[in-house]
Symmetry: C2
Subunit: 177 residues, 2 copies
């Protein structure tokens, strides 16, 4: 049995990915989980606290996920492909990247949350840089920025029609030299 706090985070994350952080309310969470809004305020006093907790949790999950990808895939190319597959998992649920969503809504989130979103992308880019460097590719920094941008952008476009090939096609050039 997952506890209430986790249920709230899971549902809020999914709703942020589909509708945006401004696209759902505590009532949406409460009704779906089967509790009252006051109970959600007990766990996250302000909605901004919920936003911060969401980004911090995802950042921690990614840190673990990066390590797991390195354990499961012997080559940098295999790890990059694993990252692509991870994003295709979002598409299958018609979800965007949660931090990409918050990056889009940047001016409507608090400075504290904006700062956490920036940290998320710094981590992600650093990990990508490491993979391109391990792969012996020149201009690893440009490749990391390009890969990250294309990953986010192609998920955004792919979700319009649900076509996963958009992601594959957009990122094709990064997987073979």
């Amino acid at each position: 049995m997952t506890d209430t706090k986790t249920k709230i985070l899971d549902l809020a994350e999914s709703l942020t990915q589909t509708r945006g952080f401004n696209g759902f309310s505590y009532i949406d969470l409460a009704n779906e989980i089967g509790i009252k809004t006051a109970s959600i305020h007990y766990h996250f006093k302000l909605k901004d606290d919920l936003a911060a907790a969401l980004v911090e949790r995802l950042r921690e999950q990614h840190a673990l996920g990066f390590a797991a990808m390195e354990a499961a895939n012997e080559t940098p190319e295999g790890r990059l492909q694993a990252a692509i597959d991870y994003f295709k998992g979002y598409l299958a649920k018609e979800e965007f990247c949660m931090c990409g969503m918050m990056a889009a809504e940047l001016q409507s989130v608090s400075p504290r949350v904006a700062s956490l979103v920036k940290a998320y992308f710094r981590d992600f880019e650093a990990w990508l840089y490491k993979q391109f460097e391990l792969a012996g590719r020149e201009n690893a920094d440009e490749l990391a920025i390009g890969f990250l941008s294309t990953l986010e952008g192609s998920l955004l476009i792919a979700r319009l029609t649900g076509d996963a090939d958009v992601i594959s096609k957009a990122l094709k050039g990064y997987l073979k030299e």
Copy 2:
């Protein structure tokens, strides 16, 4: 003197690009323009009507813009660079692409608006395809999808820190064969 309807559209477009379509209200528009919310309802009965008008107007402006880019730039490469510069103009105002924003918030807009957003991206991709084809590049479809995805994604990432080099670096590979 620009008329009220145009002022509403201009401001709503800018607010959508910074905060998202769910991140502002008729009060925000009314206060800034110096009218009352009832007057905005006269021009756009429902907020959804405003969303539809915003996307339709941008699509028309792009159709004109594409033609203008072809007139002003002799080579396809020059036109692609003009498209990049256009997006860097958004960055300078800390704005995201309006249709990119609505694509992110996809599940919170009406089917009618979602359909218009899809049309916007179809047009954009078709124009990019044409440029890559004119440039004699192989796999023009993959290049068009990749360029569009990277353009959107790099603007999203660049806006986090305000660094225009992110856009240049991410798209570098598309401008030289």
